[in-house]
């Protein structure tokens, strides 16, 4: 039988625009994916949008890279601004940032499992936009399907509550104006703390009593997905949720894990290179460190097939996300697969919700959360954090008090990247190869692999002109409170 070529375009139930091309063949008596290409089909060019602006605007502008992880971008930009001004946020700012960012993490994880992923396993209500539905192996009995449909509806409410909780200090979500260089605009009062806590208890109970058991239920019925969608098993985390004002200790640890279960190594940001061999950008030279990179769109271009660049760490492709964070933190001992990604994400949500309870207890009521933050005439800085779907870095260069260069490398750029100049597939492409496909006309198994990495193409497919990378603030920082 000849190889079957199939396109999934659009990949729905993600954020942004993604097309997946797969080739399907029978190998060792089993029909499976033998080749895959991940094609990012949106380019916005945030660098040129930011160039020349007041650097403080970066938190507001970059929030709009993504409506699903807006606070991650706002937070990351605020960190870069803190650093270029030589300021550490005070305790109130650190905790308010953690709490509002945490609210959006929980929102994203619930949205991802129930609204974006679950329709790969169960039918939704018998109406648009859930019907017509997918054709797939339905292993859940009608009672379980009805139960999960009920949880889907509950999750819609829970994710809304997450945003209502975050908006107590974020003001407006998605796209809060409250993250600013130097800290946070809101000043917490006792009623707000009580309201936040009330929401958080409800959400945490849903995570513990419903979300985690539902993922485990799914895992029990689809155990084959513990060995589907592994890919390279290379995992990268920058770490997130500062536990002290200088950011020396974090809740979820940074780390690099090679091939699934190697030792956790420290992250060396200088070991990142970006490749454009298969990306719609001008080829200027061999793979470059982002500090020397050039980004000019070039469409069409030879064998290029994506608006994503291909970031590589020590020349290897890496995926990032909750599984990387949980394994780097020693909180997850399983492997790398479709189900491991879902399980790690759910358990991370539970750990985060518990940590947020503690941060609420620590939050100083009535305390200002802003430390005076003056943009220097020139400077270079970075902010590294984690979005719900993985490692996020912003790099800022200030020239004459304005944004000279701004660069963002998003988690989906790592995970959904195209091939590099060594012809290594991107992590999602590699994870798709070997996926068994029962019906080539409806490759739902491939969709399950794609959704497990939580692609966010809104984030990924802006590409910005790189600036100089540095991890250290440009001046000695001051701290208040």
């Amino acid at each position: 039988m000849p190889t079957i070529t199939a396109s999934i375009d659009p990949v729905t139930r993600i954020e942004g625009h993604l097309k997946i091309d797969i080739e399907i063949d029978t190998v060792n008596g089993r029909q499976q994916v033998v080749e895959a290409k991940a094609i990012g089909t949106l380019f916005r060019g945030f660098e040129k949008i930011l160039g020349g602006r007041d650097p403080r605007d970066a938190a507001i502008i970059t929030s709009r890279i993504c409506g699903v992880c807006p606070t991650s971008h706002a937070y990351c930009a605020a960190k870069a601004i803190d650093a270029v001004c030589g300021v550490y946020p005070n305790t109130a700012a650190r905790l308010l940032r953690n709490l509002v960012h945490g609210a959006c993490f929980l929102e994203s994880h619930l949205l991802h499992f129930y609204l974006l992923s679950l329709p790969d396993y169960i039918d939704g209500p018998k109406m648009a936009p859930w019907m017509p539905g997918l054709s797939f192996d339905k292993r859940l009995d009608p009672a379980t399907v009805a139960l999960l449909q009920g949880h889907y509806v509950e999750a819609i409410t829970m994710r809304r509550l997450c945003h209502e909780m975050g908006a107590i200090w974020g003001g407006k979500l998605p796209h809060t104006p409250a993250f600013i260089g130097g800290g946070f605009t809101a000043v917490a009062d006792a009623d707000q703390v009580a309201a936040f806590r009330s929401h958080l208890v409800t959400i945490r109970d849903f995570i513990t009593d419903t979300y985690v058991p539902d993922v485990e239920r799914l895992a029990g019925l689809y155990p084959d997905y513990f060995s589907i969608g592994r890919g390279y098993g290379n995992l990268l985390s920058y770490g997130v949720y500062e536990l002290d004002n200088a950011g020396q200790n974090v809740l979820f640890q940074p780390g690099v894990i090679v091939d699934g279960d190697g030792p956790v190594q420290a992250v060396d940001v200088q070991a990142i290179q970006e490749h454009v061999a298969y990306s719609w950008y001008t080829d200027t030279a061999a793979a470059r460190h982002p500090a020397q990179g050039v980004t000019e769109g070039a469409y069409p271009k030879g064998d290029a097939y994506s608006w994503l660049k291909a970031p590589r760490y020590q020349s290897r492709p890496f995926e990032c996300g909750p599984l990387a964070r949980m394994k780097a933190s020693g909180e997850y001992s399983g492997g790398v697969s479709v189900l491991d990604r879902h399980l790690a994400r759910a358990r991370e949500a539970e750990l985060l919700a518990d940590a947020m309870m503690g941060w609420l207890d620590e939050l100083p009521v009535g305390a200002g959360a802003y430390t005076t933050c003056t943009i220097p005439a020139s400077g270079v800085s970075s902010g590294l954090t984690e979005a719900p779907r993985g490692a996020l870095g912003h790099w800022l260069t200030v020239e004459q008090g304005r944004v000279g260069r701004y660069q963002v490398i998003t988690p989906t750029c790592w995970t959904v990247s195209p091939r590099d100049e060594m012809d290594q597939r991107g992590p999602l492409e590699e994870a798709l190869v070997g996926t068994p496909i029962a019906d080539a006309a409806s490759p739902v198994e491939a969709l399950r692999v794609i959704h497990s990495v939580d692609p966010c193409l809104d984030c990924a497919t802006h590409v910005v002109e790189p600036g100089t990378l540095t991890e250290r603030p440009s001046a000695e920082r001051k701290e208040r409170g």
């Binding site: 375009d9 709009r64 699903v68």
Partner: protein, 309 residues
């Protein structure tokens, strides 16, 4: 699909005061809702962040439909929405084409339309093996639409993807199609405003628009943010000099665009109308995100004057 609209009618009755419906409207609505073929909604995403869709999921009201679940199951036939629909791949774009062919539809557009690279900076789906750009999709579905609703500032005016040097040549829906649109700007669009507009369309009500395509009722009629602001010095507010000491103070010196922004925002975000939150409530200046001038080249943190055209 058979749409049950009983609760939607109940919503309109109970919230008539806040959404501006008259008794005559309600009688007309009852007649419209008796028909099973009210407009289908088709939702296209262009050069966007998906934030307006996320915002719509945050819809909540004291009266039915109470939340987005009720909107989706009882109020509208959302035949195409890539972020939440079950179908994927060409089956989903086929559903889009079938729904458009089947009858009247409201076309909702989120995101701007990039014209650079022959439109290929934003490919939205494949149909019959052909990659369709956002530009092509809007041109294909706009002419047959009973109405075009631009949700968010990007589809209304270009928004942030259009800012700076506009690297991908983003245009808004009116510029591309030359057709009238109902613009519901906001970054993101407030979900209650979007649902209000959908109600008007189901009713077939005329929607008076201002010079930039916004329903007068939702924007201009409310006056400016500054006029109604509880921190306005005219009602005893004190002007803050810096973020160090701005709690409960007027933010005009910190970049607030409230004097140039027409919208009803106070306590209208992430909660029921009047019981929610807003930017100024957390000491953050209004960024004027509902205005065609958003974001503009000006700093968000310096005293604001709109650029002269």
């Amino acid at each position: 699909m058979q749409i049950s609209r009983r609760n939607f009618l109940k919503y309109c009755t109970m919230s008539a005061a806040s959404i501006g419906l008259t008794r005559l409207d309600l009688e007309a609505l009852a007649a419209v809702l008796a028909k099973p073929d009210a407009p289908t909604v088709l939702w296209l995403h262009g050069s966007s962040c998906t934030g307006c869709s996320v915002s719509l999921l945050n819809y909540v009201s004291d009266t039915a439909p109470h939340d987005i679940t009720e909107v989706l199951t009882q109020s509208i036939n959302l035949a195409f929405h890539p972020t939440i629909m079950a179908l994927s791949g060409e089956a989903s774009s086929a559903a889009l084409h079938q729904a458009a062919a089947a009858g009247p539809y409201v076309l909702v557009i989120e995101g701007g339309i990039p014209m650079a690279y022959g439109g290929h900076a934003c490919v939205v789906y494949s149909y019959n093996g052909h990659e369709v750009t956002m530009q092509e999709a809007v041109q294909r579905f706009a002419p047959g639409a009973a109405a075009i609703l631009c949700v968010g500032t990007c589809s209304s005016y270009g928004g942030i993807p259009h800012a700076g040097s506009n690297p991908t040549g983003v245009v808004n829906v009116r510029e591309l199609t030359g057709r009238p649109t109902i613009n519901i700007p906001g970054c993101p669009a407030n979900p209650s405003w979007v649902i209000w507009a959908v109600v008007q369309l189901i009713l077939g009500n005329p929607v008076p628009l201002d010079s930039v395509g916004r329903p007068v009722f939702l924007y201009h009629a409310n006056g400016t943010i500054h006029q109604n602001c509880p921190r306005n010095p005219a009602v005893g507010g004190e002007e803050a000099a810096g973020f160090e000491d701005c709690h409960h103070k007027c933010l005009i010196n910190l970049g607030c665009r409230g004097p140039f922004t027409e919208a009803k925002c106070e306590n209208c975000w992430n909660g029921k109308e009047g019981q929610g939150h807003w930017c100024i409530g957390v000491n953050a200046p209004c960024h004027g995100c509902v205005e065609p001038t958003f974001p503009g080249p000006q700093s968000f943190y310096e005293p604001y004057l709109p650029e002269s055209p």
